[in-house]
Symmetry: C2
Subunit: 371 residues, 2 copies
């Protein structure tokens, strides 16, 4: 019978795996946190992903278990593996996406360029790091942060006194970057991997707003170096499925690793319509240990613009008629989520040969969904 | 809340509407004939589409009802419309896809070029048509035929004596054609329509084997004439959603209408990977009366090759590793159906700039799934 993929988590990343899985002929099941989530169509179970019995029961009869997010606890993951469930990415890899201190230490071992960093256990430790790094640094909680949460820029240890009370923090130099990039790698359990073109990501308020693929105006070796960094990380951390490496391009043209994600990532949504094999199809293929698809762009340029928040009044769907009429070439994706300020509720992809025209197309179509 | 589309019928055409609906943000529900069908993922009901109560119950809460096939009886369709259900395509259009005699008569009224034809009620009537058309003609049952079923080429009325006992038949001249083409049109209830490029379809044993988009080596006005024919039919018959017009290109360069289909059609599968807006997304948009997407090709050539029958031993999925490894650019689609001789169980799309290379790519990848 058909191969069956189980996805833990019912968010939009799970939702966006459904379409390519259906196209290819893979059965998809989702363990959703609650009813009515983004990936509800494929939800065969509802429950708490932190509960081993819930996840184990869901995993029965699936060929491979994968994830909408990186939050399934290590003890649950390891118990699943011990019970013979094929889990991709596995706990040995996921720990580095779950704990930023572990990640920094491992990347250092691998010789990957990254910002100056330190594990700081108390105010004195943080003050020393501040003194050594210009008096203003980034402090992150090692676990649980995303989309700008769990991150503060501080110049005094008092500003993270609440966090320090809970444990050791990650301090990082405030990088003088000219822009942010992202490098995606797909890797199979058997070891094969492919690199996507490095892309430019534009953040607003700590949240990804736009992505341009490939990253324009790159120095000659930019794409090559980014792909090398991604490859070393994917292999060094034993990642299976999609890996996204968020990078700073510094004003002196170095690339420094900012964050990692071991799942499909907002920086890769462009590939749904812009690549021969988009990241969601690629993730499905990779975790099932099927041969990887061609990651090449279909067009010289692809631009993705997030729909953040959505309309203040009415539904996203109420904007379809005007948006689709004005932009018949734009590819509109919405996630079945209720509009709420700042929430990622959809995105628009556009592709073409002229970058300015493609950027305009994607932004103009997305603008119909905001107020 | 999200727009909800109900699809009657659980086959692969319903299945292939799921992916673009999910991408766009449309809720999809399917009334499947039985459990475990191709579109099972979205099945919210199982039952007989000929039973009004079953279909009416399924239709509750959907914004629009559409179809995987053309077999829902007229009395059921008309009762749904009377009950206020938005049905697309509606019964007034669908009758012409359900009854080939009605279709021929209506196309004649519209002045559409078609083969010589006659309604023959008995052996004498058929003999007269044979005498007038070279002694060898095509006979079709007006209702219920597809993929070569309900069609016979005969030179003597005795060869369809069994069919004549059941009622009037459609007799058609045996057209001296050089090749077969298909023209697709998408039309909204509000009247807007778009035409896809006319494609060449290659049939084997009465079943579509390959499609080349656009049709190569066309006479200068071929595409224009085909689009005109499709447009007149879509408007004249009041079609909503996707219309496929199967055409003969004759050896003297005329286009004659062979068959009609009022749903996504095998001749349009190339557009999933080869058009900005594939036929399945377009059908969803059209029946919901949303603005239509751009039907333009993404690449100069797209070729679709059907996977007919599948492996004699083992599953389709058992061929994934070899096929995907050899053809990372090919787009493999399978339908979750068990292999059986002659059965359409999947297809492969390939796109590119060189037609010979694209044909090779699609055929070579599809060949991995046959014995």
């Amino acid at each position: 019978m058909a191969l069956t993929l189980g996805i833990v988590g019912g968010g939009q990343l799970a939702r966006m795996m459904i379409a390519p899985a259906v196209e290819l002929g893979i059965d998809v099941r989702v363990l959703a946190e609650e009813a009515g989530m983004s990936a509800a169509l494929a939800a065969t179970a509802t429950g708490d992903y932190r509960d081993l019995a819930t996840v184990q029961s869901f995993a029965e009869g699936v060929d491979v278990l994968t994830f909408d997010h990186e939050h399934v606890p290590q003890d649950v993951l390891r118990a699943l593996v011990a019970a013979g469930v094929a889990v991709h990415p596995g706990p040995d890899a996921l720990q580095f996406a779950q704990d930023k201190l572990l990640m920094r230490a491992r990347l250092a071992e691998l010789g990957i360029p990254q910002p100056e960093w330190a594990a700081v256990a108390d105010a004195a430790g943080l003050q020393a790091f501040l003194d050594a790094n210009g008096g203003r640094v980034v402090v992150k909680t090692p676990r649980g942060g995303y989309d700008g949460k769990g991150v503060r820029v501080v110049s005094d240890p008092d500003e993270v006194a609440d966090w320090l009370a809970d444990g050791t923090l990650l301090a990082e130099e405030l990088v003088d970057f000219s822009r942010e990039l992202a490098q995606q790698i797909a890797r199979r359990p058997s070891g094969d991997l492919v690199a996507y073109p490095v892309v430019e990501t534009v953040q607003r308020g700590g949240v990804c707003a736009e992505v341009i693929a490939p990253a324009p105006h790159g120095a000659l070796r930019l794409a090559e170096v980014a792909a090398q960094i991604g490859t070393i990380i994917a292999e060094g951390l034993g990642v299976t499925g999609m890996l996204a490496v968020e990078l700073f391009e510094t004003t002196d043209e170095r690339l420094l690793v900012n964050e990692l994600a071991m799942r499909p990532h907002n920086s890769g949504h462009w590939g749904q319509d812009g690549a021969v094999t988009g990241q969601f199809e690629q993730h499905v293929r990779a975790v099932l240990d099927l041969p990887l698809g061609d990651p090449s762009p279909r067009q010289p340029w692809a631009v993705m613009v997030n729909i953040l928040g959505g309309p203040v009044e009415g539904t996203l769907e109420s904007r379809f008629p005007a948006a689709l009429a004005a932009h018949p070439e734009a590819k509109v994706h919405t996630y079945g989520k209720a509009p709420r300020p700042g929430r990622k509720v959809g995105h628009v992809n556009a592709t073409g040969e002229d970058l300015d025209a493609v950027v305009y197309e994607a932004r103009a179509a997305a603008a119909f969904f905001a107020d």
